[in-house]
Amino acid sequence: MPSTDALLAEIPRLRRYARALTGDATRADDLVQDTLERALNKWRLWRPGNLRNWLLTTMHHVFINQLAAENRLQYRDAAELPETPVAPAQSDGLELRDLGRALQALPADQREILLLVGLEDLSYEETARIVGIPPGTVMSRLSRARGRLRGLLAEGETLPAHLKIVK
């Protein structure tokens, strides 16, 4: 069983990832809490090793279960998921709002990959294990996510006048 201190030490990282993933501080902490509780329930499945990646794997399961439960977004391995924009993240500053909104406009499966690689700085192999997909799928999702995010962020800069964000 992982020690409580080791678990506590992982919470800031889990919160950062969850904040970016959900776009909402309260939902993010709910996700972290559910992850910790599930992890402690399932600690017998834990093999001494990389605690952080094990927690991220657990969070992935909790996250997709929540998505399914909320019926907000079907989590499938499909490139052609309809875009489901959600309310923009509440946050300080235009930069985060901009980026947060663009992230939430990404399909959840692409957002996860983009954040595990780009924010959590995990290797492609680690990312593949956490999400439970082949490395090749990681690369194709990453590619789609980056392309789409680039388009969304560029779009934000050429919004119609009444929506334009003044820098």
Binding site: P12, D29, L36, E95, G118, L119, S143, R150, L153
Partner: protein, 265 residues
């Protein structure tokens, strides 16, 4: 030697800083001749930088207490199990105990016994307090209805509902701090539950309800234990009090003693 063709995977690995030096040089030489791809890669790198700039401040935030509690094992799992079974299971177990011959008419329903002994309210008390403890203490998000940050309102509200000025014991010297309280349905009307926790997340509850008639005289401390929940209970001035915790009797006794002394008129 001609370098291997540059793949898209190489480009991502370049953007993520995951290429070895030799391959990196080859990719960079290729990029010099492919400005469109180079622009895309610059954008990808910038995405990573913006993600860190936007979300790294979360790392410096104080961790909320509810998440610290969720990372502390051994406390909530057994309690959650009890709460999941809730009134039904625990009630059945305790009910069986209290329905045993000698406590109530054998085989008779609890409420069929209209000639209840004067001490009936106190017989019910530890069972009710233990069940309320098992039901509410595992709650992570809604353990109390009104939090300790609204203590004045909490005390005024519950005092009004119970029809007596309530006092909330200060257990700070024993390491326990008030989390808040809630209104409960007690044996014959409203009851109140105050919840405390300590630094290690251990929770205890103080249950207060009208003791019913015939209990005006102060009753001495009694102790009951069911399903691992220790309950100290007593009656005073027409009110019944029960202090419950998932702790051994000896550990709870000094707390119960402090509560009793503080609540004594």
């Amino acid at each position: 030697m001609k370098p291997a063709p540059i793949s898209e995977d190489d480009l991502h690995a370049w953007a993520d800083g995951r290429l070895e030096a030799a391959r990196r040089a080859e990719v960079e030489a290729w990029l010099a001749e492919h400005p469109q791809e180079a622009a895309a890669l610059a954008a990808w790198r910038q995405q990573n930088a913006r993600l860190h700039a936007a979300f790294d401040p979360v790392l410096a935030e104080a961790v909320p207490a509810r998440l610290r509690a969720a990372a502390t094992p051994g406390r909530w799992r057994p309690l959650r199990a009890a709460a999941a079974l809730g009134w039904l299971a625990l009630g059945a177990v305790l009910g069986a105990t209290w329905n045993a011959p000698g406590w109530n008419a054998p085989g008779g329903a609890r409420h069929a016994d209209s000639h209840a002994q004067p001490a009936d309210a106190l017989i019910e008390l530890p069972r009710r307090a233990a069940v309320a403890h098992a039901v509410y203490t595992p709650e992570q998000r809604h353990p109390v209805e009104v939090g300790a940050d609204n203590e004045q309102h909490l005390v005024a509200w519950l005092s009004k509902r119970l029809g007596t000025p309530l006092r909330v014991p200060d257990l700070g010297p024993l390491g326990y701090h008030l989390m808040g309280g809630r209104l409960l349905a007690a044996e014959a009307g409203p009851g109140a539950q105050f919840m405390y926790d300590n630094a290690t997340g251990q929770r205890l509850t103080l249950y207060v309800s009208a003791a019913g008639s015939g209990n005006g005289a102060a009753a001495s401390f009694r102790f009951a234990e069911e399903e691992g929940i220790s309950v100290f209970y007593w009656a005073e001035n027409g009110f019944a009090y029960a202090l419950s915790a998932r702790q051994p009797r000896a550990a709870l006794l000094p707390v119960a003693d402090a509560v009793y002394r503080q609540l004594a008129p």
